[in-house]
């Protein structure tokens, strides 16, 4: 690496790729820079490690998501007896293009941005790039994903100054963009179960009784006093099915088990705030218990019991991987309790009382992203007041 370095420095032949070179070098080798001012020793942890740990925490959800894509597909084409490996391979082939598009578009923009500002390439997109395929419905055309990713990276992140400066969670902005720009492709029967073949694999015609709506989608359109969610074959599904995750949905969000594995890693390593994570669940439980007290056919989601509420849709995924984004969340300890609790409350509130949005988590987190600085401001103000009072009592 050192040998080819000169051509990347200003004046060199490849000076336009300086940021890319630096990015690669610091990726491969720990920087040799030693401290010039202040502390002479530094902790081994850096942002690369932090971000990679989050990516590792997402792996269970990613792998299970791949399997579930295949599972749903083979169920839909009436070949439920396919081996688990076939299902996984199909899911892998189906999801891989989305991952590639997400990283290519996002990192491409980051590289260009870094070069324009002559800055080091930052790691923020490592996590965003894997989050996007996990929360975008599998049938979303790749060009839509590409446009949405580009929009989110440029307008939700780069214009604010890049990694660590954004106000809204970039991955969620991607999904919100898709959700509002192409609403017809984001819900209903067609969005969440991949029906055509992936790279020639899994050919077959969809069975007649197929209904591809997610449980929450079914709930939103439910009529009458009774509520029964079904899988894509029309068979009833229970809370346990949702917990394991073999139901239609965005690739990463269906399996509570896989998400909890990731949550465990995030909490053990201390990267995610347990305050936020726990209070989201507490807020969600409290609100769903409250709406469940008065179930009504007008708002069918109020008929779900609290536990099922939390197992369905993107609630758990959002609570573990999105709400805990330190950059867009509340930063003070007290603020984190409030922030998390309100996300839980709003997510259920939107789910139940706004039938236009069967999934409330995305909007709840984005809403609270906007309020996080205000919450912090109030918490810090109390510290400021305490300090001011100290002076006042003395006089």
């Amino acid at each position: 690496m050192d040998k080819i370095q000169p051509s990347f420095r200003p004046g060199g032949k490849l000076a336009k790729l300086e940021s890319v070179y630096d990015g690669m070098e610091t990726f491969l080798f720990t920087p040799n820079a030693t401290s010039r001012s202040g502390a002479h020793i530094h902790d081994g942890n850096d942002l690369k490690r932090t971000m990679i740990t989050v990516v590792v925490a997402l792996l269970p959800a990613l792998l299970f998501g791949m399997y579930n894509i295949g599972y749903q597909h083979y169920l839909a084409i009436g070949q439920a007896d396919a081996s688990w490996f076939t299902m996984f391979l199909y899911g892998l082939l189906a999801l891989l293009p989305v991952i590639v598009v997400s990283y290519a578009v996002g990192l491409g923009i980051e590289f260009i941005g870094a070069q324009i500002h002559h800055k080091e390439i930052q790691e923020g997109f490592l996590v965003t790039g894997i989050l996007i395929p996990l929360i975008v419905p599998i049938n979303t055309p790749l060009w839509m994903t590409a446009i949405a990713t580009a929009f989110a990276v440029i307008f939700a992140k780069e214009v604010f100054g890049g990694t660590g400066m954004n106000i809204f969670n970039v991955a969620l902005i991607t999904r919100a963009f898709l959700f509002f720009a192409y609403p017809s492709r984001m819900s209903g029967d067609e969005a969440f179960v991949k029906m055509d073949s992936a790279f020639g694999m899994g050919d077959g015609s969809v069975i007649d009784t197929f209904t591809g709506a997610t449980p929450l989608g079914q709930v939103a359109t439910n009529v009458g006093d009774s509520l029964q969610m079904t899988n894509i074959l029309g068979e009833p599904i229970s809370c346990m099915d949702a917990f394991i995750g073999l139901i239609p949905g965005s690739p990463g969000e269906t399996s509570m088990i896989a998400i909890l594995l990731g949550a465990a890693l995030l909490l053990i390593t201390g990267i995610a705030s347990w305050r936020i994570m726990c209070s989201v669940f507490v807020g969600g439980l409290a609100m769903s218990a409250l709406v469940h007290v008065l179930p009504s056919a007008t708002y069918p989601a109020s008929m779900l019991d609290p536990w099922t509420q939390l197992c369905l849709g993107g609630f758990a995924f959002g609570a573990v991987f999105m709400a805990t984004d330190p950059v867009t969340g509340a930063r003070t300890n007290v603020g984190q309790y409030i922030y998390g609790f309100l996300i839980g409350v709003f997510a259920i509130l939107i789910r139940v009382y706004n039938s236009g949005y069967p999934e409330g988590m995305m909007l709840a987190i984005l809403l609270m992203n906007a309020f996080a600085p205000l919450i912090d401001h109030c918490v810090v103000s109390s510290n400021i007041k305490r300090r001011a009072r100290r002076v006042a009592t003395k006089e």
Partner: protein, 441 residues
């Protein structure tokens, strides 16, 4: 006697701790130097020229704004060189010792402030706000004395004190006469300090419990508009000695520590001694060592050809870069790659085992991403991260509101070590304090 338990902070255990507490004599120095940068807040105006003779304790220079503040020579000898750097900034004043015992005797019957200013001990004290040499004529609200150093590999101040311990009472007496409030002494558990004029508080907890700023914040916090003095117990004893004998002793005990030192131990030397007299032949590999006068968190990087720096009691020598081009260090699962965070595997083997750490930053500078890192390293009622942001954005009102008057750069040293985003927090705090000071005067 009150006890304060601090939970925040962290004790970094490095290789190269002193195991044998005997004190050996260093070789007598061939040159001794005073480095003006050690006394922040003073703009030097020379009183002695190159070639002139100075006695030990005789002023070398004074402050441009307050002529009474003197910085003195620690030895008797000849001013060999006034070494200047960029824009005629004085880097060091080098004295060739003549071996005489020519030492200034002070008239201690006069005004205590004048005696301290003239003796050169004044510049060993610091004031909050701004963490600078105290401004003469302002009576401090309180005086905070720390009796222990909690930094990594730090010397045991009881050993550095040695026989000067007998002057602690006198020193406390002098200082309590100079403040409207009290003299507060912070000790660690089990330390025995007798000072009837002072309020003694025990601090239990990890570094930075030994910082005067942390101790003050947990006893009587500094408010806007107040001035307090902060000093260490050794300087307090020197003040006591001055007001007992009329002389300032410039000898000091230095803890020579660190992984690259063959045999870490206490060495008796003189303030500002050249490092060769202390370190020559004592390092395992002088070529890839970083010599730090002070501790690894707040000390100054020095060369072998330079001198011992204030507070003249600690030298740490660590490897400069012992793993060049470490391949994919961020992916390491090696428990020896030290991190206090559980993203690495160090914690599985325990964080109390002594570790080797070199001077690499081990990452690029980033925006602040992770939450609560600074607060976990700062046992004060201060939102560190918000304060740092206020300083970076130059918001003076916010800095004041968030408590910048209570802090010194050293209080953020541990946070700088632990910072995932690798920001130079001590430099940021120093610049914030300087800016505020310029704005207020």
């Amino acid at each position: 006697m009150a006890t304060v338990r601090l939970k925040k902070g962290f004790d970094i255990h490095l290789l190269g701790a002193i195991t044998d507490n005997t004190i050996v004599d260093a070789a007598s120095p061939t040159s001794v130097a005073v480095v003006p940068d050690d006394f922040h807040g003073i703009i030097p105006r020379m009183e002695k020229k190159e070639g002139e003779h100075v006695a030990a304790g005789e002023p070398l220079y004074h402050d441009k704004n307050y002529e009474a503040i003197k910085v003195v020579s620690p030895v008797s000898g000849t001013v060999k060189e006034v070494r200047r750097g960029e824009r005629r900034h004085i880097d060091a004043i080098i004295i060739a010792p003549d071996g005489d015992n020519d030492i200034v005797t002070h008239n201690i019957m006069g005004d205590a402030e004048q005696v301290l200013l003239q003796s050169g001990l004044w510049v060993m004290m610091r004031q909050r706000p701004y963490d600078v040499v105290p401004v003469p004529g302002i009576r401090p609200k309180n005086v905070f004395v720390t009796a222990f150093d909690s930094a990594p590999l730090a010397p045991d101040l009881d050993i550095v004190l040695g026989e000067k311990r007998q002057y602690i009472q006198k020193g406390t007496e002098v200082l309590s006469g100079m403040t409207d409030g009290r003299v507060y002494i912070g000790i660690r558990d089990g330390q025995d300090i007798v000072a009837p004029n002072a309020e003694v508080t025990t601090f239990v907890g990890p570094h930075p419990a030994g910082n005067t700023g942390v101790q003050a914040a947990n006893t009587v916090p500094v408010n806007k508009g107040e001035t307090v003095w902060t000093i260490d117990i050794v300087t307090l004893a020197r003040i006591g000695e001055l007001f007992t004998t009329g002389k300032v002793s410039h000898d000091t005990v230095v803890a020579v520590t660190g992984e690259m030192v063959q045999q870490p131990r206490y060495v008796k030397s003189i303030m500002g001694s050249d490092l060769e007299s202390i370190l020559k032949g004592k390092l395992t590999d002088a070529n890839c060592s970083r010599i730090i006068s002070g501790n690894v968190l707040t000390g100054s990087q020095v060369e072998m050809s330079q001198w011992l720096r204030s507070p003249y009691r600690h030298i740490t020598v660590i490897p400069e870069n012992n793993k060049p081009d470490e391949f994919m260090g961020w992916a390491s699962i090696n428990p020896k790659r030290f991190s206090i965070y559980r993203t690495f595997t160090t914690w599985l083997c325990g964080l109390k085992k002594p570790v080797s750490m070199d001077s690499r930053i081990k990452g690029g500078e980033r925006a602040i991403v992770r939450t609560g890192e600074y607060d976990a390293m700062l046992p004060m009622d201060i939102y560190g991260e918000f304060l740092i942001k206020a300083i970076i954005s130059g918001d003076i009102d916010k800095m004041e509101q968030l408590g910048i008057y209570e802090i010194a750069p050293e209080d953020f040293a541990l946070a700088e070590f632990a910072d995932t985003s690798k920001l130079e927090l001590q430099r940021i705090v120093r610049e914030g304090l300087d800016k505020l000071r310029a704005e207020m005067s």
